[in-house]
Amino acid sequence: MEILAGLLNGFAVALEPANLFWCFVGVLLGTVVGILPGLGPPATIAMLLPLTFNMNPAGAIIMLAGIYYGAKYGGSTTSILMNVPGESASVVTCLDGYQMARKGRAGPALGIAAIASFVAGTVGVLGLMLVAPPIAKFALSFSSPEYFALMSLGLALVVLLAGRSIVKALLAALVGLWIASVGTDLFSSTSRFTFGQMELLSGIDFVVVAIGVFALAEVMVNMEAREETQLLPVPKGLRNLLPTLQDLKDCRFAFVNGSVIGFLVGALPGGGSTIASFLSYGLEKAVSPRREQFGTGVIEGVAAPEGANNSETGGALVPLLTLGIPGSGTTAILLAALVLWGFKPGPLFIPEHPALFWGLVASMYIGNVMLLILNLPLVPLFAQVLRMPVYLLYPLILGVSMVGVYSVSGSLFDLLLLMVFGLLGYLMRKLDYPSAPLILGLALGAGMERALRQSLMMSEGKLSILVSRPISAVMLSLAVLVLLIPMFGKLNAWRLRALEQG
């Protein structure tokens, strides 16, 4: 009842014409910055912060949050169309999204991304509204051993991302771990693998590697052929540009999976949308009856990670609003914004400012609807990008990649790194090493090492801490189970062969 009353009040706030307008401005801006690689929500919110000083705080937080979750909608666009991940959370979307585009199904891929974002985004807000306090408590009980188990589970998914050779997939993942440890070690301030470059002291940006290994390598492979075939067929007619009923049916589990994983991982201060999207993709693949087709353009391979990275927004707002603890760059700047407006985000924020909280929640329901309405008509429009002749499309992809990398840090050094990783990605393609495990290792490596070292510091060196705690024990067993999946496959094949021969 209390929730219903709160929500009604919230809608009263959110439906005020001014706030409705700010909500629209926020989601529109979010969509735009989401589509452009590099320019992310933190930078956009930081730029707009000065403008919000003369605004009503409710309108301001509604707009800034709109940028935050709106950007998640747009993030998949360049992943699907160009294999250029717009932000770290949409790296996984490249795997099946870009393959769908290559098969002429860019429209359904973009469409399902918008629909999954809407469904999971709404579930994320529902979670924020209904279970924020208990989830916050759960997040606090999550400590380093649990994070280590979570990252191990994520890394175990490598075997699911493997191509023909598990050994090569593992090697790629390990090289990812290596790249992740470049920089100053947080615990000891030791410089590791920096080759004397000061730019490497703070490590290598995930987006730089992902754009190099995916987008640059893809362009290089495609430029091998002189004959300029239309590589990416785009079917005519609006009907072929949106997901079919069958597509939606295929994605039923992906919607649930993405929503739940995204929300839970998002609520962890050390979680984040990258891990959420990888985990939901892995889970989707692990339980799918057509597991072996993942990576060739399967629609639920787009829906699950896109859903996860949107419901992550609702999750990430849980520790921010109930505890005043930011988990990611974007929530950190939202926290700074709240402080600048004179609020004190913390455990007492919601009880003391119910109108603001409920107004925000209600605006997020409205904003998600706006985003769906805004994004679906854009699908046919964006799908037209692929009608471009290749001699126009490839320079465009290269340009977008370079701007995307440069806008992250404004440094030419990162562009040099982009070149290095582009070449690496190409060589990996030629030598039949899968690139997804490399990205996965990179995404999880730093957090995994930290969590392991933190755990062992907490237990004074006893490894038993990793298995004596229930949540981490369960997750580690799951990781082992996932690692065994291909063995089962092999075992089964061997048994069948034995039966035939017998």
């Binding site: 000891s188 091998e224 340009g399």
Partner: protein
Amino acid sequence: MEDGTRKSGDLWSGLALAALGFYIIIQASQWEYLGPDGPGAGFFPLWYGVVILGLSVLLIVSHLRRAHDRGNPTDWSRLGRALSTWFSLAVAVALFKPLGFVISFALLTYFIVAVMYRRPLATAALVAVATAAGFYLVFDLALSVPLPVGMLGF
């Protein structure tokens, strides 16, 4: 099709990765393995270095044990096209500092359209100017995303 390159590729990439694993182990052994409070900076790298070395040796051995049926030879012209794409991009990045993004990107586009895809020079020039101007308009002017600036001030 790729079988030939792939098989000898397994050998060479295996050797490269073994070298990487060895390098990581050497580096990591110079850092603290266990400190007073817990694992040090060398702990994690040492372990993945050892695993990289082990797996790459496995890759090399399994390559050597396989029959050496050489498949198709490497298609050098395809490889050449891919590498010249990479090289032209590298030149463009190197030109960012003196010439700025807009001019370098126009040159890159011109090279790809005119040389790599053999389009008429006029088409190439048009495409190059249009895309470079488009990037400048969209990113620099409309969205104020800074692009690399050259000595000419744009």
